[in-house]
Symmetry: C2
Subunit: 160 residues, 2 copies
DNA sequence: TATTGTTATACTCTATAACTATA
DNA sequence: TATAGTTATAGAGTATAACAATA
């Protein structure tokens, strides 16, 4: 007993009924995680040639959009701790993409501003990220579905 | 110059125009990340009383659904490394939720099975996770929108 | 040679706590 | 006392690489 000899090749396993995760697939959170992993990997791939990480791209984006924002405000918008911001701002400042400027009224805070180089890189990054999302979601969702997904996720992430 | 004296209270900042992340909000990936963070936190919160983590809940779920699955197959389904599975399976086995059984034909692999205790806990966890998603998304999305979001995310995460 | 499970290790991301300098 | 920024540290999650047993 126990299959005395099987002359099937090793890929018998691949022909065997594949293991399923159907029960997990019923949960939004599970699909959100798997989706996000794919999206983040591809996003990192396209940001890498620009010398940006996902976190630094996000931070640069908010600084471009909000000149003279402080590190604390930046941390608040991105929902991470002030201590974590220091590393991100250090990296962006080290690459001359943003500058830490002292403010006249309060010598504790910095007013963060994107440098011309930072604004140029951000424009490039914005185009790259847009192309990445189009290329990634294009084969899966049509324009309407993509807008719908964006809208639903915006509502969920805004109801934080 | 430079505001000689400002007798506004310290919450002048709070009345100031709040910093925005509108540019980032245009990207699906950004909203996906923020949404997932909220969902994961709440999921962990409800799984904690059951002694489960998100990862062990997922692994238990797949084992319940696929009796006699091997650790490598399990890792493949959950898209993580074999080495990472060892820790998860150790934890589940240590809590007597699954068992590692030797298979007759191949002494390298384990056939993983949920114990009766594991199946009972999984049933409870399934109900808890379902309630968590209903409570979390209920105030934000109606039933149709929730099904739509699930369907869109399933398509994205399946097109991996 | 290839595969399963294992161990040790390292890396990323993020959080916590304590400190400083300012207010 | 409270806040902005900083530092050091630690934890979670996951990946890489090398190894033993087995095929």
């Amino acid at each position: 007993m126990a299959r005395p000899e099987k002359n099937e090749p090793a890929d018998a396993d691949r022909n065997a009924p594949t293991a399923t995760d159907d029960m997990l697939r019923a949960f939004i959170g599970y699909n959100m995680k798997r989706s996000f992993i794919v999206v983040r990997e591809d996003l990192q791939r396209v940001l890498d040639p620009l010398g940006l990480k996902v976190a630094t791209f996000s931070a640069l984006s908010v600084v471009v959009e909000n000149p003279d924002i402080s590190q604390s405000q930046l941390a608040q918008v991105l929902k991470l701790e002030r201590s974590g911001m220091v590393v991100l701002v250090d990296a962006l400042e080290g690459d001359d993409l943003i500058s830490r400027n002292r403010v006249p009224g309060d010598r504790r805070t910095y007013a963060l501003r994107a440098t011309p180089k930072g604004r140029r890189l951000w424009e490039k990054a914005r185009a790259v990220v847009d192309a990445h999302e189009t290329a990634l979601f294009g084969p899966i969702l049509d324009a309407g579905e993509r807008a719908l997904l964006l809208s639903l996720l915006q509502r969920v992430s805004s109801a934080l």
